[in-house]
């Protein structure tokens, strides 16, 4: 069996003393991490931030605790979330520092061509707190299980499922108020 045959969690267990195995993790997951970034900050900044995520992963590899699912994606998305926050913080003016978001709304607006979709998405996400918003997106946009998304956000699997259930209900209610005829 070669390193390429090892599952993510075994590679991450090796990474502390074998940083090179992160190259295999990269080949498996860089496209997904790029999409994660592009959804939140737009394609052009995502191109720059992709490298930042994996370089941060090299430093973070000594502390990694893979999710029981075995996938490295929850860990990588957690790092990517921090990278997105730092990126947005750098872009904001000093007066807006307290309102750092996890999504660049200008970028989201720019990539959604249908005006109604932009409006609806804003309504849905505005109805949620930051943690619930990211929980919803990690599951719906990035394909994590609720438990994996919970790990990214520091929530237990049970808490993540419960919060996700309530968040979805609130989001749907907000959406219904905006466009009741569309239901």
């Amino acid at each position: 069996m070669t390193d390429n045959d090892l599952p993510d969690d075994e590679l991450l267990a090796l990474a502390a003393t074998r940083p090179d195995v992160l190259g295999i993790i990269y080949e498996r997951h860089a496209p997904a991490v790029y999409r994660f970034l592009a959804r939140r900050v737009g394609p052009a900044p995502a191109e720059d931030l992709l490298g930042e995520v994996f370089e941060a992963a090299v430093a973070a590899r000594v502390r990694v605790h893979p999710h029981p699912s075995g996938s490295a994606l929850p860990w990588l998305y957690g790092i990517a979330t921090n990278v997105v926050r730092s990126h947005l913080r750098r872009r904001r003016t000093a007066t807006a520092l307290a309102d750092v978001d996890i999504v660049d709304w200008d970028a989201v607006d720019a990539r959604l061509d249908a005006g109604s979709r932009r409006t609806d998405l804003r309504v849905v996400l505005d109805a949620l707190g930051e943690t619930d918003r990211e929980l919803l997106l990690l599951v719906a946009w990035d394909g994590l299980s609720p438990a994996e998304a919970g790990q990214v956000l520091g929530l237990s699997g049970v808490a993540a499922r419960s919060r996700l259930h309530r968040a979805r209900a609130r989001a749907q209610a907000a959406l219904d108020q905006t466009s009741p005829a569309a239901r």
Binding site: R18, P19, R39, A140
Partner: protein, 305 residues
């Protein structure tokens, strides 16, 4: 609108282009490369610490006189088969590369070498670290974990073993660099021996290890080695420091060299099993050396005491 439909329809983004993926991968490789070096450095540091503890624990009470024998001497008994073309080719290649080692040869007052050695035939499996600053005319310094528990030891002006006698630094500088003439001169310094070729092979190693021999002299020394009958090519090896090299041997004595740059990397003595190993980690000129310890009572110099 249904929430799942909205989230699905806002999910799609274009994939990263191959150029973007390739660029980020290059950045990752640079980071993992640097991290790997740090891991290796940490391991070496831990190994050194562990070995130092072992040495200090094992050698308490071992005394060594100030008149130090810096390199063990061995009775070289074995005699290998006739020299092989491949050994000669390897040595001539190393000679040419060594002649190109122009950098870093200066008139610096010290020649600094770092090595480690093991003496399973005499002192067990302990690995001893050794660092020496040879001085042309003044006081040299030796810090050898196998000598006086690694205390800093003062040495007289450098002497380089050469057959029955020893050469001063100036005499080393004056050695001929024509391989035929050098061969004759070195053989003339060999006393009575059962095997002059073996003695010459040993002498060449002595003049390459912990030695400020010029690139021209190094070239000539490897060329002399290539002329010695009975040298065999052992083949590609990795030395104890993890460096790739090529080993050549005569009898029980084996040298590992880097044919790409002509560096002398390691020597071993093998009598069915390795009875001695010395790995030269680095050597080069130095402007300074650690302070010399006080002369022992009753001594007038570090050379004669």
């Amino acid at each position: 609108m249904d929430l799942d439909t909205l989230l699905r329809e806002t999910r799609d983004v274009p994939d990263a282009s191959p150029a973007v993926l390739s660029t980020a991968r290059a950045g990752l490789d640079a980071s993992t490369g640097a991290a790997s070096l740090r891991v290796a450095a940490t391991r070496r540091a831990l190994d050194r610490r562990r070995k130092r503890r072992v040495v200090l624990g094992a050698l308490v009470g071992v005394a060594a006189s100030a008149a130090l024998v810096l390199a063990p001497t061995f009775d070289l008994l074995g005699r290998g088969p006739g020299g092989t073309a491949s050994a000669t080719e390897t040595l001539l290649r190393a000679a040419e590369a060594a002649g190109d080692q122009q950098e870093a040869w200066t008139d610096a007052p010290y020649w600094h070498s770092v090595s480690e050695y093991q003496d399973p035939g005499g002192r067990g499996d302990t690995v001893y670290e050794r660092e020496i600053w040879l001085s042309r005319d003044g006081v040299g310094i030796l810090v050898d974990q196998g000598v006086k528990d690694g205390e800093t030891v003062g040495l007289g002006p450098a002497r380089f073993p050469a057959g029955e006698g020893a050469l001063t630094w100036d005499e080393l500088d004056a050695l001929p660099t024509d391989p035929v003439v050098l061969d004759e001169q070195l053989r003339a310094g060999i006393g009575e021996t059962h095997d002059e070729d073996d003695a010459l092979f040993v002498m060449v190693g002595d003049l390459l290890r912990e030695s400020p021999a010029s690139p021209e002299l190094r070239r000539a020394l490897w060329e002399v080695t290539a002329r010695i009958p009975g040298i065999t090519l052992v083949g590609d090896v990795t030395d104890a420091a993890g460096r790739p090299g090529v080993a050549v041997a005569r009898g029980i004595q084996q040298y590992v060299l880097d044919p790409e740059d002509g560096r002398f990397l390691e020597e071993t003595l093998d009598q069915g099993e390795t009875v001695y190993r010395s790995t030269l980690i680095e050597q080069g000129p130095a402007e300074t050396a650690p302070a010399a310890p006080p002369l022992p009572d009753g001594c007038t110099s570090y050379s004669y005491c």
